[in-house]
């Protein structure tokens, strides 16, 4: 039997990650990066970081778009669309099914337990996703400093995150990073 084509392998892997992406999409980024950059070399580290950056600069469903751009680089438009669909269709079907069920048992003890048990794990995954993306794309000290400043400003002030993204882009455009 032939190994699956890169396109099929990618779409399959994104589908798997989407279904277990508790806490949201940032948590899948470390695994996805190891898969497409490390294990298969379909994208360079820089290209992966670019896909992540571009979707921050345009409106729209940004994580779905990021999966689309990775799919696009691997297999063109059809794979871009397939990657987008597997990112949100299975999880959406799940949320739709789970919502009514969850609502009915909102005061049950098991539900609080699931909530309190899942939450810390998902939070750890999200923070890991951010840290791995901060180190992606041969980033130097200056860009790590931008990341650290963004964390500090987000936590200490009520600044609109858009300004932080814009400031990062401006520093980068000036060739500081």
């Amino acid at each position: 039997m032939n190994p699956p084509s890169p396109a099929a392998a990618l779409v399959g892997h994104i589908a798997l990650l989407a279904i277990i992406s508790f806490g949201g999409v940032p948590g899948v980024l470390p695994d996805l990066r190891d898969f497409v950059v490390g294990a298969h070399g379909w994208l360079t580290d820089r290209e992966f970081a670019n896909c992540f950056a571009v979707v921050q600069a345009i409106p729209g469903p940004n994580m779905i778009l990021m999966m689309s751009f990775i799919g696009w680089k691997v297999g063109g438009l059809p794979i871009a669309i397939a990657s987008a669909l597997v990112t949100f269709v299975p999880p959406c079907a799940l949320s739709y099914a789970a919502f009514g069920f969850w609502d009915r048992f909102r005061d049950a003890a098991w539900q609080q337990r699931v909530r309190r048990g899942l939450a810390p794990v998902t939070i750890g995954l999200v923070i890991a996703g951010g840290c791995v993306m901060a180190r992606t794309g041969e980033s130097g000290w200056a860009s790590l400093a931008v990341t650290a400043a963004a964390v500090a400003l987000m936590l200490a002030t009520r600044i609109n995150p858009l300004w932080l993204v814009a400031a990062g882009g401006a520093l980068g455009g000036l060739g500081v990073l």
Partner: protein
Amino acid sequence: MGALFGAFLKVSMYGFGGPIVWARRIIVEERGWLGDAEFADILSFCQFLPGPNVVSVTVCIGARFRGPAGALAALAGFILIPWTVGFALGGLLLSYAQAAVLQGILRGIAAAAAGLIIATGIRLLMPHRQRPVALAFAALAFAGLAVLRLPLLVVVLGLVPLSIALARPQQAPAR
């Protein structure tokens, strides 16, 4: 139905940086479809689900008002046009990504955006800071993914059942 499509189209097109913020502004403040508490409740539910959080919020709100058809209308509003526009714009940008200036800009954006993700995680962690067990599981999940570079499936399957088993429902104010 049309209103659901329109509202979520707007959320998506405005949703630079944080679509959740816009979802709240449009659904709660502008349209008055849900109270703050109801919105927060749906959001907290969706944060545990797999998949893009804001997409789950979209589906749940659509479903609450108009059942399956409402969920589809809201989802279509959120995705169809914004995806097409975003894909075209982003594709254009990526095809010029070798240009030095653009390369620098993208590098800066990625660095800042990574910071936003980390800050979001830290903020979510704050309500749990009194619970050593919760902090330990967050640290384990972080280490498994970011330090040991384990596959996500291994981390999730390894930690989630244990974490749920050790969580105590009645202790401390539930938040």
